[in-house]
C-alpha cells in the first residue's frame, strides 16, 4: 500500500489527476469517517471529506515525504473539521437544523444485529456530540484509527503529553455522560412499564 501510495503521490505531483483520484479512493473511507464522527451528519461529512481532498490536491507540493501520508491527510481533515465546528458555533446552528445522522450501512446484516448496531451508533453519536471538538478528535483518532500518542500528536499538531491528558479527560467525560444517560434511562423504565398496560387496555 505504501509503495503504491508513493507512486500515486509522485504521479499526482507530476499532474496526473487519475493517480490522485486513486489515492483519494483509497483514503475516502478514513477521511469520510473522521468527518462523519466529528461533524455528526452524513451530508456535511461528505462535503468536508471532498473539501479535504481538494485541499490535499492543491497542497500536495508541500507534502513532506518523510512523514506518513495518512497522518498528513488526517491532519488536514481534522483541522478542516475543527474549523467547520468553530464556524458552526459562531453561526450558532442548532443540532436540530442539521440533516439526520445516517449510520454506516452493513450489507447482509440480520435485523436484530442491525437494531443493536443502530442503537450503538446513536449512542456514540450522542456522546461524541456532547464532547468539545478537541476531545472528540482524540477519541476518534484513538478508537477508529488506533493511532499511537505520537501519531495523534503529529495529526493534531500537539505534544504527546497534551494528547495523553486530553484523551484521559475525554474518556472520563464520556464515562460521566454514559453514566448519566444510564441513570436517566433507569429512571424512565418503571414509568414506561406502568404506562404499557393502560395503553393495552384501550
Amino acid at each position: 500500500m505504501i509503495d503504491r501510495e508513493r507512486v500515486w503521490v509522485e504521479e499526482a505531483l507530476a499532474g496526473n489527476e487519475e493517480s490522485f483520484i486513486q489515492l483519494a479512493d483509497a483514503y475516502a473511507s478514513p477521511v469520510y469517517n473522521l468527518a462523519y464522527r466529528m461533524l455528526g451528519n452524513a451530508a456535511e461529512a461528505e462535503d468536508a471529506a471532498q473539501e479535504t481532498f481538494i485541499r490535499v490536491y492543491t497542497r500536495l507540493h508541500t507534502y513532506d515525504r518523510s512523514r506518513k501520508f495518512s497522518s498528513w491527510l488526517l491532519s488536514i481533515a481534522s483541522h478542516h473539521c475543527i474549523d467547520r465546528l468553530r464556524r458552526r458555533r459562531d453561526n450558532a446552528v442548532s443540532l436540530d437544523e442539521l440533516p439526520p445522522w445516517n449510520e454506516p450501512a452493513c450489507e447482509g446484516e440480520a435485523p436484530v444485529q442491525k437494531v443493536i448496531r443502530r442503537e450503538r451508533e446513536e449512542t456514540i453519536r450522542r456522546l461524541l456530540d456532547q464532547l468539545p471538538p478537541h476531545y472528540r478528535l482524540v477519541m476518534v483518532l484513538r478508537y477508529w484509527y488506533d493511532l499511537s500518542y505520537e501519531e495523534m500528536a503529529e495529526v493534531t499538531g500537539s505534544t504527546v503529553s497534551a494528547i495523553k491528558s486530553r484523551l484521559h479527560r475525554a474518556r472520563l467525560h464520556m464515562a460521566e455522560l454514559l453514566t448519566e444517560e444510564r441513570k436517566r434511562s433507569d429512571q424512565w423504565r418503571p414509568v414506561m412499564g406502568k404506562a404499557q398496560p393502560v395503553a393495552m387496555g384501550r
Binding site: 469520510y32 462523519y36 481532498f53 481538494i54 490536491y57 456514540i124 474518556r171 464515562a175
Partner: protein, 186 residues
C-alpha cells in the same frame, strides 16, 4: 491504596497496559471503594462501546463526485497571471486617479510659476507621504490576494510597483527641471 492513584492507573487498566501486580492492587481497592468502582465500570462501558465502533464509508461514487468538484473548481478558478494583471492595472488606474487629486499637477504648476521658492520641498514631502499611503493600502490588498498563488507573484508585483513609483517621480523631476530651464531662459 489511595483513590487518586487508582484513578490515575484506571486508563492503563482499561486499555490493558497496566502490569499484573498493579492491576491486582487496583482490583483490591475497587472491591472496597464504590465511587472508584463506578468510575471503573463507566470507563469499561466506554471502552466496550467504542471498541466495536465501525469505520463508515461514504455513499458510492465518492471519487466520481470528487472528480467533478475538482473540474468545477479548476474551471472557476482564475489563473494567477490574470489576477496579477487585473490587480496591477487596477492599481495603476487608481494611482493615476489619485495622484492628480492629491495635488501633483498643482505642484508642477506651482513650480513653473515660482521656481525659486523653497516651498516646493514641503510639497514634495507631502506628495511622497500621500502617495506612499495610497500605494501601501492598495499594494497591501493586492499582495494579500497574490500571496495565495505563490511567492513569485508578490515579488514581481512589488518590483513592478517600486519601478512604477520611481519612474513616476523621475518623470516629474525631469519635467520640473525642463520647466525651470524654460522659465530661466525666459
Amino acid at each position: 491504596m489511595k483513590c487518586e492513584i487508582v484513578q490515575e492507573q484506571m486508563m492503563d487498566g482499561v486499555t490493558g497496559t497496566l502490569g499484573a501486580r498493579r492491576m491486582a492492587e487496583s482490583y483490591a481497592h475497587l472491591r472496597q471503594c464504590t465511587s472508584c468502582r463506578e468510575r471503573w465500570e463507566a470507563l469499561q462501558r466506554v471502552e466496550s462501546l467504542l471498541g466495536h465502533a465501525q469505520l463508515c464509508a461514504p455513499a458510492p461514487g465518492f471519487s466520481v463526485r470528487l472528480q467533478k468538484r475538482l473540474a468545477h473548481r479548476r474551471s472557476t478558478r482564475w489563473s494567477p497571471l490574470a489576477i496579477f494583471f487585473i490587480a496591477f492595472s487596477t492599481l495603476l488606474v487608481t494611482g493615476l486617479v489619485f495622484l492628480p487629486s492629491n495635488g501633483i499637477f498643482q505642484w508642477v504648476w506651482y513650480q513653473a510659476q515660482d521656481p525659486r521658492s523653497l516651498a516646493w520641498l514641503q510639497d514634495v514631502l507631502d506628495q511622497l507621504v500621500i502617495t506612499g499611503r495610497v500605494m501601501t493600502h492598495l499594494a497591501g490588498t493586492v499582495m494579500f490576494m497574490l500571496f495565495r498563488h505563490g511567492w513569485w507573484l508578490p515579488i514581481l508585483g512589488y518590483g513592478l510597483l517600486a519601478g512604477l513609483i520611481i519612474a513616476a517621480w523621475m518623470g516629474l523631476y525631469s519635467l520640473t527641471k525642463v520647466r525651470r530651464a524654460v522659465m530661466h531662459r525666459a
